[in-house]
């Protein structure tokens, strides 16, 4: 078993790290406070393929392996969790299902602009009465000629406030949601499409998580992804991939918390020595380090299994649910240190994304 990253993967990680440091580090705190989506950074990320990491080359993607994909999300998230979230969701639950289940025309229409970051993607599943119980959705799409008339109320839509291309889960059969559960591509600006209120998501406020409301919205039948009734399969395929990205995001946030704690422990003097010289603190740091490293191994293993064609939902769940542990320890110490306040704020963040709950 060889756990070393290839030179190529290390180069990819280095590029993402340097990019995050140069373009996001200085504004991460500000955009979180202002709840501002940093379009100026997105414009620079597009040509570097951050928005089409695993999309086919044919459509402008980088067709990268899943380990490289995780490394990029980890590096971006460690500096700016909100942008880590943006690219994780865009790539895994929009670009991936579209590449996998879209027909040639849909791929040619939507993938190039999504992969270039010119358009942002969103995944709309959750509703006020449906989350983990996806079959409880109340959104409908009723056939009328060559169109569907869509009525939907979707909540907690990551990227919602800025998304142009959305995969929306609806039922085409009001009598049997399970049979009618379908995925449909909707474009922002379609009459009847409305972005609702933005969520005030702690620590990732720069990502406009919002509700999306469609009222008698006419969507061409050609926008159906897969066939009628394929929705659940598409949603699950997206989420299986998505969870690896979210685990990688958790990894980035945890590593950043560990780095901040380590820095603080070396700087802060108590009892005439730096905190790091106290054994109790050393033990905490060692625990945090162990947890972060264990999370990384699980996440990358899940990514590896995915590239081999398998699926391993248990593996990526652990890093996400574990993430609060190092963060809470970090929080305890750096509570008053303004410099690192951004990081602890994201406590429990990745714990809830795309997870059963």
């Amino acid at each position: 078993m060889d756990f070393t990253l290839s030179i190529q993967q290390k180069q990819i990680r280095r590029m993402a790290r340097q990019f995050a440091k140069a373009e996001l580090a200085l504004i991460a705190k500000e955009i979180d406070e202002e709840a501002r989506f940093p379009w100026e950074v997105v414009e620079k990320m597009g040509p570097l393929n951050f928005f089409g990491m695993q999309a086919p080359r044919k459509y402008g993607g980088a067709e990268m392996d899943s380990i490289s994909y995780c490394l990029v999300i980890e590096e971006i998230s460690g500096v700016c969790a909100a942008m880590g979230l943006t690219i994780a969701v865009h790539n895994s639950v929009v670009v991936y299902p579209l590449s996998q289940f879209g027909n040639e025309e849909q791929k040619a229409t939507y993938l190039p602009s999504l992969a270039a970051g010119e358009k942002i993607g969103a995944f709309c599943l959750t509703e006020p009465n449906a989350g983990s119980d996806a079959m409880a959705i109340e959104s409908t799409a009723v056939r009328e000629g060559d169109s569907y008339i869509v009525n939907a109320n979707k909540i907690f839509v990551t990227n919602g406030g800025v998304a142009d291309t959305l995969i929306l889960f609806v039922s085409v059969n009001p009598d049997d949601v399970k049979k009618g559960f379908s995925a449909i591509l909707v474009e922002r600006g379609t009459p009847g499409f409305e972005v609702g209120l933005l969520e005030n998501s702690c620590g990732v406020r720069a990502n406009p998580v919002s509700s999306i409301v469609l009222t008698d919205c006419r969507v061409p039948k050609a926008n159906l992804l897969g066939r009628e009734g394929d929705g659940f399969k598409i949603a699950m395929a997206g989420l299986d991939t998505g969870r690896i990205g979210i685990a990688a995001q958790a990894m980035g946030i945890s590593q950043a918390a560990l780095d901040a704690s380590l820095k603080y422990a070396k700087e802060r003097i108590q009892f005439r020595v730096p905190l790091a010289r106290h054994q109790a603190i050393q033990m905490m740091l060692a625990d945090m380090g162990t947890m972060v490293e264990a999370s990384r191994l699980l996440t990358l293993q899940a990514a590896h299994i995915r590239d081999q064609g398998g699926n391993s939902p248990g593996l990526q769940q652990w890093p996400s649910s574990l993430q609060p542990a190092p963060l809470q320890k970090c929080h305890r110490w750096v509570y008053k240190s303004m410099e690192v306040m951004d990081i602890p704020k994201t406590t429990r963040l990745s714990d809830i994304f795309e997870m059963p709950g």
Partner: protein, 263 residues
């Protein structure tokens, strides 16, 4: 106007990871904590720009142990067409003179070239000598501190800042230019990085490949050598200035004057 451009790069140790081998008195290099010398990125960036404007060929060269391969992959991702690693255990502990000799032999083996670009200095040894020494070794003209350049009618027009003046210089090809740091470098895209690995290889050249004189490389070929390398311990102390902001500013100003930090 196709040119053959050569960029010399170096793998350096990340600033906060410098460790000294107590036996050899040399820096300990590991792949994990090493990266391309940031000053070389400016040379590489300019070279890529020039290559694209003039449909030229760009070759990246480095001398170092096998792990230096990583910086060559980075150069390929940024836009180099060819990457050559000059590597031989006998090159170890070369000073700047011996390094320039090895680089010079490597460049001679590459063959015809129009332009050699170097970074201003390295972050781990900081001599800024290799560029000019390499030009001497190759017996070609060189200009340091280059900020802008273009090729017109077979001649390079160079701009640089010198003692508050803007100097415009002309230099015939082939020439060596030492590039001044600029504000921004471009990042390679994820596709560029992938393509570097699928479309290129790294060429390894050792002492014999270069047909180099063993007495001119390593310790034997060096005119200087490191007797001791000692880590510096920096004493930091913190002083709080009391009073109203205006008063604090005045106190700060006086302290700076006191330490000759204002002239």
């Amino acid at each position: 106007m196709n040119m053959n451009i050569i960029v010399c790069i170096k793998q350096v140790i990340a600033g906060d990871r410098v460790k000294i081998d107590p036996l050899t008195q040399s820096l300990v290099r590991s792949a994990e904590f090493s990266h391309i010398n940031p000053f070389d990125l400016f040379a590489l960036d300019l070279a890529v720009q020039l290559k694209r404007e003039t449909s030229s060929t760009l070759t990246a060269v480095t001398m170092g142990p096998p792990i230096s391969e990583e910086v060559l992959w980075e150069a390929l991702a940024i836009g180099a067409d060819r990457a050559i690693l000059l590597s031989d255990p006998r090159f170890a502990t070369s000073d700047t003179l011996a390094t320039s000799y090895v680089l010079g032999m490597g460049i001679r083996k590459i063959g015809k070239f129009d332009l050699v670009l170097c970074g201003m200095r390295t972050t781990d040894s900081d001599t800024a000598q290799v560029g000019p020494q390499l030009a001497e070794e190759l017996d070609i003209p060189h200009v340091t501190g280059v900020e802008r350049m273009e090729k017109k009618e077979g001649v390079f027009w160079i701009e640089r800042t010198s003692d508050g003046f803007r100097e415009v210089l002309q230099v015939p090809a082939p020439a060596l230019l030492v590039i001044s740091p600029r504000t921004e470098v471009r990042f390679p895209s994820l596709v560029d990085i992938q393509d570097a690995f699928t479309q290129s290889t790294i060429e390894y050249w050792n002492l014999e490949d270069l047909n180099a004189d063993p007495m001119k490389v390593g310790r034997d070929g060096s005119a200087t050598w490191v007797e001791a390398l000692l880590p510096l311990t920096q004493q930091k102390s913190c002083v709080f200035l009391e009073g109203e902001p205006r008063q604090q500013a005045k106190l700060l100003f006086l302290k700076l004057i006191e330490r000759n930090l204002f002239s």
